[in-house]
Symmetry: C2
């Protein structure tokens, strides 16, 4: 493994073979502590979403601090986390194929408290029938569409009907509650706009849960929320547990949204990609070794935080290279110099790397495998 | 490993756990045969770029057909290919750090014909000194900037001076020739525009090589070109070898560029991502299990080729999900149904997957590891 020889060497963090995904251990711990404390203060349970980090070591840090369990995006992510020793796992995307349900049943036998999400009556019946024939029970929650039309059953009659079916017609499924995740609101920049839209949706969820209650269906778990909404989740109090993930690392997207105080959110960037200048034959620019294969490209470009002239910006130069551009004249970046960047969007960027380099001050202190990288199935 | 149980099962290719990266073996072989035949007809050497597929099995199919060797984008990709048994490897990006050069020297001892690229005098001197002190020689070619300013030394005096330094002042480096890669022209849609710009650059390279020759420096290797330029490389005849890669698979980008006949290029898509519908609660759309973690997002969206209503289009719905949209009314996609897509940009998309599912008609016939996935260092 590259970079292993630098472990615990003084100044070693400046000599990584790059592109390298790097986490600052102190900043990571501060972020984890802060969110855990916020949740406990508001008597909410924290169930961090591991689709952000995909890393058993970090999931364990979260559970050690008091997280009730974890979320996984897909079944293969849950399989990887379970192999790493994690328990109480909620799979937030529906599992819909025969083979997927068979895998879920198998995973439920080795994982204490596995919970699936369902948003469709025919999938509910299929899952119930397969659990019955495997002589087991599966925990399920109903996924509700908050209005973004990604997954989830609409609120209203369709939602009530599916809840009724899950509760009454599926004896091999244990109905535990609902999921309500507003992914489309998390990155709304303006605080008031984000808050107003989110609280309006929360009100609709409150009304729906009252209707369910009147039908005799209670919801032990109401799960959702994220790094962009946790303050409003405390305020609305409709959730019993929070699914935040990005707060552990932060990224350029989340650094740009406004908090209640008018500044940035209370979490600091702990995640970086280190890249090296590999060509420097032109004025006002240099070429690095990190391109489209080293950063997610769905939104912004990387934010340069160290190692380049002030006010430099980053652009992509194809699969393998990036460029650093600056305006000032009397400046050149030497070939071989190291540049540190905050990643544009943490989840899909981390998904590109096999290892996370853990640094403390100027030392590389650990290299954590990203066990669930590529586990999208 | 997921999907292993489907190997050689009739109809197995329709039951993959998804998102799954899939190659059609017959179409792949046809593409490989066709480019090899074109190169041989024009007495050019083919040195396919393995940054496209990152897969030892495919590199071996290319060498079996007559490829002289391979290109690798980065040293870690070359290390992976060498471990897989490949030889005659050109690393197309500069290797510039002490540790990188140390790795290159180590790799050169176990790989017949490793060739490095250099675009900078100080890196040339460092590499020469390290090779000397390791009591070895390294093959190098000089990387020339065709005008895109990514890597490479400018043509003209700077280029002549670096060539002179490599040839005369670096006794532990064996100067083999030049690299000239016009990545910025490969996807120019219009055939005549692409051809005119490319041939103008080729003329400048011809002139430079004549100047080098007059200085007493001959170039055994002149390497470059790609899937978007191979016809012009034959026409100009300045290259001795071609670095094409994407022709093996094709992608949406390359399907959109115009060939000399006015239609598409003569290679057919052989690479697909299979995805499954996981939610279908709304009209005119369905949600799939393939999002930002399953496709490169630097350019177009995936092109739907099978399994969805006619004229459907794909959009991203976050890290884990995609959406299929259509205009016709009397249509619904069932949860669990399989949809096949041509990928937007093959290289960074393949970089997201650990395995390539090899299909022949309706059977899964092999699963190839993508050994150099994530090898960007």
């Amino acid at each position: 493994m590259l970079n292993r020889h630098l472990l615990n060497v003084s100044g070693g963090s400046r000599h990584l073979q790059t592109p390298a995904l790097v986490v600052d251990l102190e900043k990571l711990r501060t972020n984890l502590d802060r969110m855990q404390a916020r949740c406990e203060h508001h008597t909410h349970v924290l169930r961090p979403h591991t689709k952000t980090h995909k890393c058993v070591a970090i999931a364990k840090l979260q559970v050690e601090r008091g997280a009730v369990g974890i979320c996984c995006a897909k079944l293969s992510e849950a399989e990887a986390m379970s192999r790493g020793g994690l328990e109480n796992i909620l799979v937030t995307s529906p599992v819909v194929t025969d083979e997927g349900i068979r895998r879920a049943i198998s995973l439920s036998r080795t994982t204490k408290e596995l919970i699936l999400t369902i948003d469709n009556k025919s999938v509910a019946r299929l899952t119930d029938a397969m659990a019955k024939s495997a002589q087991t029970e599966l925990n399920v929650i109903m996924d509700i569409d908050p209005g973004m039309h990604r997954t989830g059953i609409p609120l209203g009659d369709e939602g009530l009907s599916l809840a009724h079916a899950l509760k009454q017609d599926c004896p091999s499924l244990r109905f535990r509650g609902v999921q309500f995740y507003s992914g489309d609101l998390m990155h709304v920049l303006d605080y008031s706009v984000r808050r107003n839209r989110y609280l309006a949706r929360s009100e609709r969820l409150w009304a729906f849960l009252r209707e369910l209650h009147e039908m005799g269906i209670d919801t032990e778990i109401v799960t959702g929320g994220g790094t962009g909404s946790y303050e409003f989740d405390f305020e609305s109090d409709v959730m019993t547990e929070l699914q935040a993930g990005s707060y552990a690392f932060m990224d350029r997207q989340y650094l740009e949204i406004e908090s209640g105080s008018g500044g940035t959110l209370e979490f600091d960037p702990s995640l970086f990609v280190f890249t090296t200048v590999v060509s420097s034959n032109h004025s006002h620019m240099a070429t690095t070794d990190a391109g489209l294969k080293s950063f997610a490209t769905d939104d912004k470009t990387p934010l340069i935080v160290d190692g380049a002239p002030r006010e430099s910006h980053y652009s992509f130069m194809g699969d393998e290279h990036g460029a650093i551009h600056w305006a000032i004249d009397d400046c050149k970046l030497d070939v071989g110099s190291l540049v540190s960047t905050v990643v544009p969007h943490c989840d899909p960027t981390i998904n590109l790397y096999n290892e996370l380099h853990v640094i403390h001050r100027d030392k590389l202190v650990d290299i954590w495998p990203i066990e669930a990288r590529g586990h999208t199935q």
